[in-house]
């Protein structure tokens, strides 16, 4: 069963009196363990599609199922629960909580999941080690480089054991070497831990590692290539 099933998805934004269609009938299936890239020019609908899949935004029409559960009609609290337990997020601007340390940021989702202190500690330490941040647990975001902050964001996204990680332009704010290292880390997580990744990006480095590239143009899927 596909982990994500998208059918005839539409989303239109209003800008004053103007209606701007961002998604115009998307059909897409994501299988478990995929390392998929949504690519396309700015305004093509990549981020919008990612936000719909991640239950961060509500579509105007069509349907999205995550692990077989239809998102339409779900209560706000149920959508929050789904995000908390099954979906990890990596954002372009890192979006770490500034007052928390690297450890506490990575721990946040586990804390919300109600995991015990011992379990949180063990998972966070493992995850930080996996993303190469061992020894930097007590640093605040301001004391970390951009690449390190994004690694914390990746650790936060995977610590809670999600079925799916959605990454929106994760390398856009990083220099190319750092971006490359980050993609390598995520690829490793995909291969070794079976985490499903879906990226919205136009970074060639990410596309290099992708096993599937979905090309969006004007809110529609123009190409869907499996490597």
């Amino acid at each position: 069963m596909a982990i994500v099933e998208v059918r005839n998805l539409t989303r239109t934004y209003k800008q004053g009196n103007l209606k701007v269609p961002a998604l115009r009938g998307i059909d897409l299936d994501i299988e478990p363990g995929e390392f998929t890239v949504l690519m396309g020019p700015s305004g093509s609908g990549k981020t919008t599609l990612l936000n719909q899949i991640g239950a961060l935004d509500i579509p105007d029409g069509g349907s999205i199922k995550v692990e077989g559960k239809e998102l339409a009609g779900m209560k706000k609290s149920d959508l929050a629960k789904l995000r908390l337990e099954r979906i990890g997020f990596v954002f372009q601007a890192y979006n770490l909580i500034p007052v928390l340390t690297a450890y506490e940021n990575a721990e946040f989702v586990l804390l919300m999941q109600g995991k015990s202190k011992a379990e949180r500690k063990s998972k966070v330490m493992d995850t930080l080690k996996t993303v190469g941040l061992e020894g930097m647990e007590h640093r605040r975001p301001t004391e970390l480089s951009g690449g390190q902050q994004q690694r914390v964001a990746v650790a936060r996204a995977i610590a809670g054991g999600p079925a799916l990680v959605l990454a929106d332009e994760p390398t856009a704010n990083l220099d190319s070497a750092t971006g490359y290292e980050l993609i390598e880390t995520m690829k490793k997580l995909n291969e070794e831990h079976g985490v499903t990744f879906v990226f919205a990006t136009h970074d060639p480095k990410v596309m290099e590692h992708a096993r599937r590239i979905v090309r969006l143009v004007d809110g529609k899927i123009e190409e869907d290539n499996h490597k």
């Binding site: 936000n51 991640g54 961060l56 935004d57 706000k76 609290s77 929050a80 629960k81 789904l82 995000r83 908390l84 337990e85 979906i87 997020f89 954002f91 601007a93 979006n95 770490l96 909580i97 500034p98 007052v99 928390l100 506490e104 946040f108 989702v109 804390l111 919300m112 936060r156």
Partner: protein, 409 residues
């Protein structure tokens, strides 16, 4: 959520410090002002009770409405005093008479208000004996001596040892008697110092032609908290006594008590306005500290934090900051109150040594007194306000759409 709330407050030290300063500073000022006022009111009431009344007062029926009617008196003063003392042994019982007259000397004349007292008992109750600035306090049994106010002495141009004649209404006829000035009293209040005349109860009984009678038997408690019980005991002991009435201190010093109530009500209005300004400051600080974190809340929601949990966290922050702020405010307020309880504020250079409230001279050295009830109310209000200040932002934060909130700068 409590851990997160605590962490948020601890890590945002500057923001937390500013909010705490607003809460604790406001609370400190309000506590300080309130306790100082409370001290002033208590002093007025205590002075009133000590000098013109008592915690329980026995007086002729209707005397309050017509204090110049000298025929209204308690005929068997000693008998009534003994009953009052027996009704509440842990107290001091004294007898007094009050009447008006004309005091003359070879150099002048002035209308006076006479307070007749038992010198040996009165010295332990009121502060009259401390106000003698020249000469001496009356000796027990001295029925020829008289004490007069400093301004009155100036008006009559008399000094210690000089003769003065008091004229007034006796029981049946006009009475006139010669006295010798034993002491000069200065309270600092021009009105009191120009009017007060003190003599012994014995002298007054002769002057008024009413042997054994007084216009007041007053009970002064050693423990003032017992006033209600003492009133009931005295009422019971004197039940059936014709022509007399028993009053509690609130009725006995009604003018002073009403003045303090009215003044407190006025002050409370000022306090309310100050409190409102402080509260707006607190609400604004807390509101801003929450609203500037919209992006952070958006991230938390995006990661799956249930909206209810986010709301709880924000409310807890408000509660914690209110609790800490109130504790600090109570601490600082108590420190300043302690100082003002010991040292007080001396207003004598501004308004003289004393001021007059309903005929009672009150010293202008005002010392604070602990008003625990009001202090706890003010602290509770600060805590409730801090929580209330977070209700709107907490509700708003829970209703945020994560995608839009994360775009918030």
């Amino acid at each position: 959520m409590l851990v997160l709330a605590l962490r948020n407050l601890w890590r945002n030290k500057l923001r937390t410090a500013i909010t705490l300063l607003a809460i604790s500073g406001g609370l400190t000022m309000i506590i300080m002002g309130n306790n100082l006022n409370h001290g002033m009111y208590q002093k007025m009431i205590r002075t009133g009770i000590a000098t013109i009344a008592g915690h329980v007062v026995v007086q002729p029926e209707g005397w309050k409405d017509d204090p110049d009617a000298v025929e209204k008196s308690i005929p068997d003063a000693d008998g009534v005093a003994a009953k009052v003392q027996a009704a509440w042994p842990d107290s001091t019982v004294t007898q007094r008479s009050f009447f008006g007259g004309l005091l003359t000397s070879p150099n002048g004349a002035a209308g006076v208000g006479v307070t007749a007292i038992q010198p040996e008992v009165e010295a332990g109750i009121s502060e009259w004996n401390d106000k003698v600035v020249e000469g001496k306090w009356l000796e027990p049994g001295d029925d020829r001596g008289i004490l007069i106010g400093a301004k009155l002495a100036e008006t009559l141009d008399v000094g210690i040892g000089k003769k003065v004649v008091l004229m007034g209404q006796g029981k049946d006829d006009v009475s006139s008697k010669l006295f010798r000035v034993r002491g000069i009293i200065r309270t600092g209040s021009a009105q009191v110092d120009g009017f007060v005349t003190i003599m012994s109860v014995g002298a007054a009984q002769v002057f008024l032609e009413q042997p054994g009678a007084v216009s007041q038997v007053a009970l002064h408690l050693n423990v003032s908290d017992d006033s209600e019980e003492a009133l009931a005991a005295v009422e019971s002991a004197l039940a059936g006594g014709a022509g007399i009435e028993v009053l509690g201190w609130k009725q006995a010093v009604a003018e002073v008590y009403e003045f303090t109530r009215t003044d407190r009500a006025t002050n409370n209005k000022f306090m309310f306005i100050i409190g409102l300004i402080v509260a707006l400051g607190i609400v604004n600080t807390i509101l801003m500290s929450v609203m500037e974190r919209i992006r952070e809340f958006g991230v938390m929601l995006a990661l799956g934090t249930p909206p209810i949990e986010l709301r709880k966290m924000i409310l807890m922050e408000g509660m914690l900051i209110g609790l800490i702020g109130a504790a600090l405010g109570l601490g600082f307020g108590s420190l300043i109150t302690s100082y003002l309880v010991d040292t007080g504020i001396d207003y004598s250079e501004m308004i003289g040594e004393s001021f007059d409230v309903a005929g009672v001279s009150v010293s202008t050295l005002i010392k604070a007194e602990w008003d625990w009830f009001s202090m706890s109310i003010y602290a509770a209000v600060a805590i409730v306000l801090s929580i209330l200040a977070t209700v709107y932002p907490a509700w708003k934060a829970g209703a945020l759409r994560p995608v839009e909130a994360m775009r918030h700068v």
